[in-house]
């Protein structure tokens, strides 16, 4: 009988580059930057790493296929290295694989590293799906972009819950304003300036009703984690300066949302299911009360708003009330995107999942300056949503400090 991942794996070291338009840095530079910080934090030597997992998504404009970019760059000596891709859950997948490798007993110390170099396309926004989205999609997909496909949520949500498009626009403006406020004090964040809700609502329309500030930063960056068993962690970290993994869940669309008739177009079925499994695995009874902080996948502000409901923290059709009440603000009950989120920290796809864990990790270990410290943080949740609302991959990770 499976017993889940809870307390079987510890994170002993993490590293994360500054995210942003890293014109001066190659993907290899970013990998080294994250790795050096991570290795120093773990306090081990490179030769102690027994296996590694690399997460990259847009490999065609990034480092190319397979795992060799990681082993070549870090000069990993003929150890097993695997590359993973699962849309925007890619970084979390690399972390999850590393955790499972440890939990299985196959390895003691494993590296997970995610990297993405998105700013070599020559234009703003994400690279087009192109043939990478599959031949069928290239022949039958709508002439769409990622913001547009997520914007679809808003019109369906408005119709289903009778929440006006204006109310939605206000709520998502608050979401982005909050992330901007949080990102200001984070030196590693891509976008670091205060933006008001008025500015957000007046910004140019990208895809109705999402304006410029409803869309996250497209950034370069890398993040890394070293995981091991709790026993080894205790032996290495005399002051218990590590966190343990409480849950790792992934849910992937079965085709029901996009092909069958039972999906309303106004929520993420995967998130709704993965979060319940994650709470069960982590033994969380009441997430609204027990979770200290969250990093959710705010690729677009509307995604964050609806995710609050799919995480079963806000009631269906009522997220805007919690948002406007400041429930998810820095000084709210469940602060969200305390490092700026995808919105302001940035979103180098392969790195993002690991970056989120990094944000929780540094809070749990109380390594952040006072102005952005969450009081009594014990349990943090990260969430990724890759793909599009009707067909996606959701990952949820819960970590804690005992």
């Amino acid at each position: 009988m499976a017993t889940g991942i809870k307390n079987k794996v510890a994170v002993i070291g993490m590293g994360c580059t500054k995210f942003g338009e890293r014109w001066e840095s190659s993907a290899e530079d970013l990998m080294v930057e994250a790795f050096v910080e991570c290795l120093a934090d773990a306090g081990i030597e490179k030769k102690e790493i027994q296996a590694a997992y690399l997460g990259t998504h847009f490999d065609e404009i990034n480092v190319g296929k397979a795992s060799v970019p990681l082993s070549n760059t870090l000069k990993l000596p003929y150890i097993p290295v695997t590359r993973l891709d699962n849309y925007c859950a890619t970084g979390t997948e690399a972390f999850r694989a590393a955790c499972y490798a440890v939990a299985s007993g196959a390895y003691d110390i494993v590296l997970a590293l995610g990297v993405e170099k998105l700013k070599d396309t020559g234009y703003g926004g994400l690279p087009g799906g192109g043939i990478a989205a599959g031949v069928w999609y290239s022949l039958t997909g709508a002439n769409s972009t990622t913001p547009g496909l997520f914007a679809l949520l808003a019109t369906a949500y408005s119709a289903k819950y009778g929440v006006s498009m204006e109310e939605i626009k206000e709520a998502i403006a608050h979401i982005s304003a909050k992330s901007h406020a949080n990102g200001v004090s984070n030196p590693k964040a891509h976008l670091r300036r205060v933006v008001t809700e008025e500015q957000i609502m007046a910004a140019p329309m990208i895809a109705y009703p999402l304006g410029l500030f409803d869309c996250c930063g497209v950034s370069d960056g890398s993040a890394a984690a070293i995981v091991t068993t709790p026993e080894i962690a205790r032996s290495l970290k005399k002051d218990n300066d590590f966190v343990t993994v409480k849950s790792l869940q992934i849910s992937v669309s079965s085709g029901e949302e996009s092909l069958f008739t039972n999906w309303d177009g106004a929520h993420f079925e995967t998130t709704s299911r993965a979060s319940l499994k994650a709470y069960e695995e982590a033994d969380i009874k009441n997430p609204r009360e027990e979770i200290s902080m969250m990093e959710v996948h705010d690729c677009f502000s509307i995604t964050e708003m609806i995710t609050y409901e799919d995480l079963h923290i806000s009631l269906r059709g009522k997220a805007h009330n919690d948002i406007m009440d400041g429930f998810y603000d820095m000084d709210g009950q469940v602060p969200c995107q305390v490092d700026g989120g995808l919105k302001c920290y940035g979103h180098p796809i392969g790195a993002s999942g690991v970056r989120m864990i990094y944000a929780i990790y540094e809070q749990l270990l109380e390594r952040v300056p006072e102005e952005r410290k969450i009081k009594n943080a014990r349990i943090g949740l990260t969430h990724n949503l890759g793909g599009i609302p009707s067909n996606n991959v959701c990952s949820i990770t819960i970590i804690g400090r005992d």
Binding site: G128, I131, L139, N143, L153, I206, A207, L259
Partner: protein, 485 residues
């Protein structure tokens, strides 16, 4: 009895006021002011002669059993492929059985009446039952030219058979001359024409009367036997002259729709015929003339079936639904006359993989999905394993056609980031009433007019154009159902 069993038409949603053309570019050729009256129909950026042929075919076949169609003839001078059967694309769009006769008719503008004759002869010979003829043209006039003023885009379709005939075919007479009033070489984008006066004096005033005379003699008829005479000729004064020469009274002359559509090329006589049939009465005799490098004269007599209630929108129904374009340059961009900068995302190189396309041809061109014979769930695209989580049957699917089904909008957006000839790119999820859903592009609509729950129908469109390899790619889009204006 053999003849027209059903008929339909198609006029694009968009119209361009000729004054808008003149105001924009009349300065280069001020004489075009003489044509700057009324409006012309212009194909949307995602339409061409094939998509309009499919639209006219769909209209024509409403209430008809498509499985009985044994032949499809496409007539057009603006087909996107010189090699690749254009009628084959239209046939797939109309979801016909693949065991079908299909042919392209092109070259002369009278190719449409020739296609109609061939269809009639096919049925007469008893080698084919039920042949559909689709005529469609989308000709380009050079910016500033009189052709730009004159040409309009439209299509018509006729079902030829021997059951429930509404317009019985009674006879024909044809002439063929290498009369080069205008022409388009193999690599030309625009027509070149000889002097208008010569076209009128020698073309219309000799070839048409000569053909009509021989036709009337052959069938021992007189002009006053006909209740309608349908003939293409865009010159207003020349029509008056011809009516006088031929003895056509004003109420017998079928309107050539110059101020509503324009000259629709090969489709012109059939668009006019389609509209003429809408108001026809049993016993009416109709003379149809196709003109271009000669003349085809065909004659029909309407039966009692002509007054049967029909579901077709027809030419008149389409004329009643429209939206005006206020920007001349928009049309130039849509027709790729003016290469606008659509941004780097538009440069993405996507090859049409023909072996892939072949495997999926029915799902792509016909919008065929599948229906689970176990639980009845319909799904698009076709699945091997039923998507109903309570069913999950493996390989128990039968073909299910979505293109003729209506649906409603679940969600939608207008996307300014997507590379489009008509931003914002509007798209969203369509839920078909019988089940099945897909994220489709929406077309012939404005973002402001959309609402969740709104009804949509499906339209075959040119989804992409690969200018490196000259490939027009086709798929289906959703069109919000229209109210008459």
């Amino acid at each position: 009895m053999i003849g027209i069993c059903s008929y339909g038409g198609y006029v694009p949603w968009y119209r361009l006021d000729r004054k808008v053309i003149y105001d924009a570019i009349g300065w280069i050729n001020p004489s075009t002011i003489s044509y700057a009256k009324g409006e012309k129909a212009v194909a949307n950026f995602d339409e061409d002669s094939l998509t309009m042929a499919v639209a006219a075919g769909i209209d024509c076949l409403k209430g008809c059993d498509r499985s009985l169609i044994e032949g499809i003839y496409l007539a057009s001078t603006t087909m996107p492929y010189k090699e690749r059967l254009n009628a084959g694309i239209v046939s797939a769009g109309l979801a016909f059985d693949e065991h079908i006769r299909a042919a392209d008719f092109s070259g002369a503008l009278k190719c449409s009446t020739s296609a109609l004759l061939s269809a009639i002869e096919g049925v007469e010979s008893r080698r084919l039952n039920n042949v559909i003829v689709c005529a469609s043209d989308c000709r380009l006039g050079k910016p500033g030219s009189s052709q730009e003023m004159i040409f309009g885009d439209a299509a018509a379709a006729f079902l030829i058979g021997d059951q429930d005939v509404a317009a019985e075919f009674k006879g024909s007479y044809s002439t063929t001359y290498d009369f080069v009033d205008h022409y388009r070489g193999a690599f030309a984008k625009y027509d070149r024409q000889w002097e208008d006066r010569w076209i009128r004096d020698v073309g219309f005033e000799y070839i048409i009367p000569e053909t009509v005379k021989k036709f009337l003699e052959k069938y021992q008829l007189e002009m006053n036997d006909f209740s309608k005479v349908v003939y293409p000729c865009h010159y207003g004064a020349e029509r008056k002259k011809l009516n006088k020469m031929l003895g056509i009274p004003p109420d017998v002359e079928q309107d050539n729709l110059m101020t509503e559509i324009g000259d629709a090329g090969s489709a012109q006589p059939l668009v006019m015929l389609s509209q003429a049939l809408e108001t026809g009465k049993p016993g009416d005799k109709i003379l149809l003339l196709g003109f271009g490098n000669g003349c085809d004269a065909l004659y029909f007599e309407l039966t009692d079936n002509i007054i049967k209630k029909r579901e077709q929108k027809g030419v008149s129904g389409h004329l009643a639904q429209k939206s005006s374009i206020d920007k001349y340059l928009k049309c130039l961009v849509w027709r790729e006359i003016l290469p606008a900068d659509l941004g780097p995302k538009a440069e993405e190189d996507i090859i049409t993989r023909w072996s892939f396309h072949w495997r999926k041809r029915k799902a792509i061109l016909g919008l065929w999905g599948s229906k689970c014979t176990g639980c009845g769930t319909v799904q698009y695209p076709p699945q091997r394993i039923c998507v109903d989580p309570d069913c999950g049957a493996v390989d128990e699917m039968e073909d299910f056609l979505f293109s003729d089904k209506t649906g409603h909008i679940i969600n939608y957006t207008g996307d300014n980031l997507a590379a489009s000839n008509d931003p914002p790119a509007i798209y969203g999820t369509v839920q078909f009433e019988m089940g099945g859903r897909h994220i489709f592009d929406f077309t012939d609509c404005d973002l402001d007019s959309l609402a969740v729950g709104q009804a949509v129908e499906m339209s075959f469109r040119r989804r992409s154009y690969d200018d490196q390899r000259d490939v027009s790619g086709y798929f289906w889009k959703a069109v919000p159902m229209k109210e008459d204006k």
